[in-house]
């Protein structure tokens, strides 16, 4: 009985994450529009886009293979599963022990692998541009991510997101400079991985500024709908990770009952709103970098992670 209930809560988180992802993307777009003194599209516009794409035909290039057709399903499935394993309104759910932070990052890596292959599948130069730049950004972002994980695991003694969130919430961590550095590093990695400004422009279709859009240029119809939803889910995943690790107040613990879960969900929505607002302000405030400045950006994130680890070693040497 108890296990059926736990499974239900986990499934509820999966559905919640899927339902919220397009809304979050719509909220960020609307906020950016307001900052630019425009009306902007309605909040539910991403849902409408996905539904419109689902109704359209798929136009496949002559040279596309089964990899091209299967990739959207795999990308969607791995990203959805990864997003479902991050604590949103409660920690310690049934499946959350199947994967820790490193496994989550690797799951996103699987999705990226399939997408990069799909980019190369049709045999055009746009797909190649997107794939090669995406793999460059990934190769620089992963060491930075690992350093952030190392700092967190040094402090919390675990790489499970649930355990880290509970540790940050419960114990008196105090004012830790290393955590601030790790937060900034994680934000930089999240921006790079989600193809936001200043790394990539999610709203453009110019080849000079494309990374993610170039890889999915040939997709249409239901395939494109799946990939768009996967991109929304990935953004939601990173914001959820930042929220549950660095701002864990209000998260329920598994087994506390439905009232605590609802309260946790409410707090989670507030955190998402705050994160979306900050993301919109950040994207409006700076310009996109040229591609060969991205290594400097991610190198800075790596340095911040290293520095956080070193500083933590100093304070823990008692």
């Amino acid at each position: 009985m108890a296990i059926a209930l736990n499974l239900l809560v986990q499934f509820a988180q999966m559905v919640l994450v899927l339902a919220l992802a397009p809304l979050f993307a719509g909220f960020v777009r609307k906020t950016k529009a307001h900052l630019l003194r425009r009306q902007g599209p309605p909040l539910i516009q991403p849902y409408r886009e996905v539904l419109r794409l689902l109704r359209k035909d798929v136009v496949l290039a002559d040279s596309a293979s089964w990899v091209f057709r299967v990739a959207p399903y795999l990308v969607f499935a791995t990203t959805w599963v990864a997003a479902a394993l991050v604590p949103t309104f409660a920690t310690g759910l049934v499946f959350s022990y199947a994967a820790d932070v490193i496994a989550l990052v690797a799951l996103l890596g699987s999705a990226r692998f399939m997408l990069a292959l799909a980019g190369l599948d049709v045999g055009t130069s746009f797909g190649g541009i997107g794939s090669s730049r995406e793999m460059l950004i990934a190769s620089l972002a992963e060491p930075a991510m690992l350093m952030v994980v190392f700092t967190l695991s040094l402090l919390a003694g675990s790489t499970q997101l649930s355990s880290i969130a509970e540790f940050m919430q419960a114990s008196d961590v105090g004012l830790r400079f290393s955590l601030a550095l790790a937060l900034i590093g994680l934000i930089m990695v999240a921006i790079a991985e989600n193809a936001r400004i200043p790394i990539d422009n999610p709203a453009t279709h110019l080849e000079l500024t494309m990374v993610h859009e170039a890889m999915i240029l040939e997709y249409s119809g239901r395939h494109l709908a799946l990939i768009e939803v996967a991109a929304f889910l990935k953004l939601l995943l990173y914001v959820s990770v930042i929220a549950c690790v660095f701002f864990p107040w209000g998260i329920a613990v598994s087994g506390q009952g439905p009232v605590a879960y609802l309260a946790g969900a409410g707090v989670y929505l507030l955190k998402l709103a705050a994160g979306g607002l900050l993301l919109a302000v950040f994207e409006t405030a700076i310009a996109k970098m040229r591609v060969f400045r991205v290594p400097d950006f991610l190198g800075a994130a790596l340095m911040l992670g290293f520095l956080a680890t070193l500083l933590l070693f100093v304070t823990m040497a008692r």
Binding site: G174, L175, F177, A300, M303, F306, L307, V314, T315, R318
Partner: protein
């Protein structure tokens, strides 16, 4: 020493190391000068906090000197010099920025490895401050040797002095006399350097020290 005081001191000392890294990352002149102002601001905050927890009022004067002279007057003067000399605004680096930052991390690790066992008997606060002060010193030296531009070398030199101030306050008990004499000698050094900079600029139309190479006699 209670946790909060220790954490805030750690915040300022770590922040100083971070700003030293930001100094290494800059590739434009105005960015370097503004970052140096931030560097001086952080060190004055660190010294002021030390004054508060050590109950040593004379350190407030040190903090005030650092704030007024180094965070306000010197950056303003440097901005004027840059405009007057018409120095072009990008800084040439000897090795790539990425490698410089990696070397910087190595230097921080080295200072921690060296300092922590030596100061094992002192209090935690002193340990931290000395380890970070050595890092700031080494990072300042790194900045001096990895830049070709004379103005950025001067800034590196002054950031070394900030590191020394942090070390001295952390070691508990830096008499005001020492602070004044050190500051005075730095001031003299700066005036001499400034005079030379003007002369070099007049003569060679540039402050890139590499250009001086051609005018050295007796090349091997």
């Amino acid at each position: 020493m209670d946790r909060f005081a220790l954490d805030v001191a750690h915040l300022f000392a770590g922040g100083l190391v971070l700003v030293s890294f930001m100094l290494l990352y800059q590739d434009r002149m105005t960015g370097v000068v503004n970052n140096f102002a931030l560097h001086a601001l952080v060190v004055s905050l660190a010294v002021a906090w030390q004054a508060h927890i050590q109950h040593a009022p004379h350190l407030y004067i040190t903090a005030a000197i650092a704030l007024v002279v180094k965070a306000i007057i010197i950056p303003l003067a440097l901005h004027r010099i840059i405009v007057r000399l018409g120095i072009h605004r990008t800084i040439e680096v000897v090795v790539g920025i990425g490698q410089t930052m990696l070397a910087g991390i190595g230097l921080v690790a080295l200072s921690i490895i060296v300092m922590l066992p030596i100061t094992a008997k002192a209090g935690t606060l002193t340990q931290q401050d000395l380890a970070f002060a050595l890092s700031v010193l080494l990072l300042g030296l790194l900045m001096m040797i990895s830049r070709r531009n004379a103005v950025s070398q001067v800034i590196g030199f002054m950031s070394i002095e900030n590191g020394l101030i942090l070390a001295a306050t952390g070691a508990k008990g830096m008499p005001l006399v020492v602070e004044i004499s050190v500051a005075f000698s730095i001031l003299i050094a700066l005036i001499v350097i400034g005079v030379f900079l003007f002369r070099i600029r007049e003569r060679f139309d540039t402050v890139d020290i590499h250009a001086l190479h051609e005018f050295r006699g007796e090349q091997p």
